[in-house]
Symmetry: D2
């Protein structure tokens, strides 16, 4: 089972509106620093956090227990003018796990409730953590074909469009795919097969004309799985593997 | 004329690959901190920076001269293991301005050239800076309708899809629209009329079923325009205005 | 006249005690980030901030007006769980200026008042800002003589002792000297002559057996004066000047 | 045995000199962020880091193994333009442990060697980690007696003088005492008795006229010991204990 943590800022929208009209740059700085800060704390325990919508973030949290979640939650409460609440869920797929994480947190009150503050919610159904499967996906020759040719906003639009399509295709298979900068995507994809990836890649090539490649890794936590996915993608990039998808290892190692 | 600065990390992709396979969390922290850092420096001069793809960022830079760009560029070079280069462009529309900014930077070498480092590029065609027009756009009742009901990834997908559509519609009119967290978007939109906004909003309501509202402001720099856009949006949010679009002031104030 | 701003955290001690017993690392992170953040904002306007006791910081703020102080103060209030208040003072010497800055802030309430929040205090006696004089001081061959030979704590003790003596000697002459890392000190020293510096250096060599050197610069703001001080010290370091003190320019440039 | 890690920036002085004359604010920001960053990583593993001279920092690192040190060291190398090297030492007293840590690192090359980069040095003499003893020390009524009465620089001088004396007195007993902001000091003090603390406090009251109090705690790592020291000091502050020194627990718990 994969474990996903939803990190949600408490009553964030209403709070920002009290900050004065010239608040935008400060909000952007706050959001980015908060994400970087949380990423440091999750990754120090072997996890990996995605910025998602910034007021809602999702982490792969296998190996991080509830007490460690509490420590992270309190550290943020001490150092920021806003608090975060968290929901933790397990699932056969990443999609299921985040749905459970969302449900348990929603049951504690609205994201805009002024009463819910720094809550840690989880479902205790006795499920056990298992392995994490992660894919690192990028676009072939994006720099030479797009970044160095098209204008910067057009390049961003191409990535945004690709990202939305990747989200939809992977969600349908129970995976969660996140844009993580440049032309890179990370997919938390327990249960997906090589065939699934080839199907996704083929459909994207047909619909948007971009060729993707994917390195897939497994591990006991996000850091291990991500490292192996990087290793696999690196082999494809260096031409050591001809196929656009490489799996390194599997769930039962 | 609006002024746009493209901030591009030099030779970033190849550099990240040298960092070892367990690099992902560090890269995410680096990218976020770099963005927050640049945002602080641009906004201290009245500008506003958008994170875009993180390895390529776009700033509204009216009122920030070349020497001030240089200071920012050198401050980053001193404190990070990577450098940034910048292209600066002016245009009647934000889209044109970023295209010029991209072109002048592309002319200095590839984003993955190992020789281009910390370059400041600009076109000196005698054009003069004018006003900035910015819209702050959000979705009606997104928290109660989506965040508190749907799962977190689905909510993110809805925003990603909306973002891609908004980018396309605004790009067609010469504007640049950026997601800036939660259910908020900022559009740098010199030249767009109230009619343009209503058209965009209508089309989105028809295609994705979400109602948007937009506050539009003008100023000599991004900070002024953004502050007025916030003021306008706040009036709509508080029900002081019935229409989904409110312009405060205009380009000739 | 030199302008000094005292930045004081509001009701900081009592606040920290509410954070739980395992708070220390979070407090240290908070203090350092807050200092770095304020330093960015003061230096973006040509100023320079010293960390002092972390809950009280001192800045050279020539060229930074009250409205700009307000913007800094509000940016902190938006992004931290604690607020800062500021007192601004002018003086013929840096010592006098900080005394005035302290007095005007003290008149607004105790540092541990729970009512004083984000106050900006200044004395409006019509005095006008003038030049800034800064010295960059370091120890000859500290790395080879101390860092590479003594143990790390002993080296730190030597610097702490030296710092305390430098503070006392410079305070007696109306200057403010701050440790700024390694074996480096920055002295805000309007009015001090070459003779004053040689006297200080001689007394320290006699009492602690360390040889110092000092580059002294002048400017309209801290950044200009500091840059010239660096230039002067660099000339001494490279052996281009034989004396341990070098003045570049003077107050009437 | 207590474990101390010396974190030393590699070739830092020479590097800073290449940054241009207007470098000072950037250096201060870099140093503070680097400290905050390292503090986050050490404290995530139960350690505690002191900023010391900023180019040399000391951490209590019981419970943090060599591989975890390596991860910290590499994370810094990836995200900063400078690297750090580390020496790790064990000792009966904190002073001995830091001396060993210094010696093993010095044996790898000078702090200003351009060849030593990101080295992790340790002595493998089979010694075993034991408990950590930490004291949290502060000054009675410093805010009302000093901060609210004296000028800010004078208050800083008083603390600096006190800090230097505390360093000397504690070093003579094998302890390491660090200023950590405001009027607070943290002493890493394995082996010191209640009598030792009373002696130190008496001598300081006699020589500088300030009354101190100290809460002392024990633990398997710095975080545990520090938490208990905070608990003890809190009891004295709230008047629950009449003596100026309170020990909570002891090394054999």
């Amino acid at each position: 089972m994969i474990k996903i943590t939803l990190v949600q800022l408490d009553n964030y929208g209403p709070w920002t509106e009290e900050l004065g009209e010239d608040r935008e740059a400060d909000i952007q700085v706050l959001q980015s620093e908060l994400y970087a800060d949380l990423q440091r704390m999750f990754s120090a325990k072997g996890g990996l956090l995605f910025f998602t919508r910034f007021d809602n973030m999702l982490a792969v949290s296998n190996g991080i227990n509830l007490k460690e979640h509490e420590v992270i939650l309190r550290s943020i409460a001490r150092r920021y003018p806003v608090t975060v609440s968290m929901g933790v869920g397990l699932g056969e797929t990443a999609y299921e796990a985040q749905r459970t994480a969302t449900r348990v947190l929603q049951s504690k009150g609205s994201a805009q409730s002024s009463e819910r503050r720094a809550v840690l919610a989880y479902s205790d159904n006795g499920a056990k953590e298992g392995y994490v499967q992660i894919a690192h996906i990028d676009v072939d020759d994006f720099t030479s074909n797009v970044t160095d040719r098209e204008d910067a906003y057009k390049a961003m639009y191409i990535i945004s469009n690709l990202s939305t399509l990747l989200m939809k295709l992977s969600m349908n298979k129970g995976a969660l795919t996140f844009f993580n900068g440049g032309d890179n995507f990370i997919s938390v994809c327990n249960g997906l097969t090589e065939y699934d990836f080839k199907e996704i890649i083929d459909r994207l090539e047909t619909s948007v004309g971009l060729k993707l490649k994917a390195g897939v890794g497994f591990g006991r936590n996000a850091n291990e799985a991500m490292s192996k996915a990087n290793k696999a993608l690196s082999k494809i990039r260096r031409g050591l593997v001809r196929e656009p998808v490489l799996f390194l290892g599997g769930p039962h190692e």
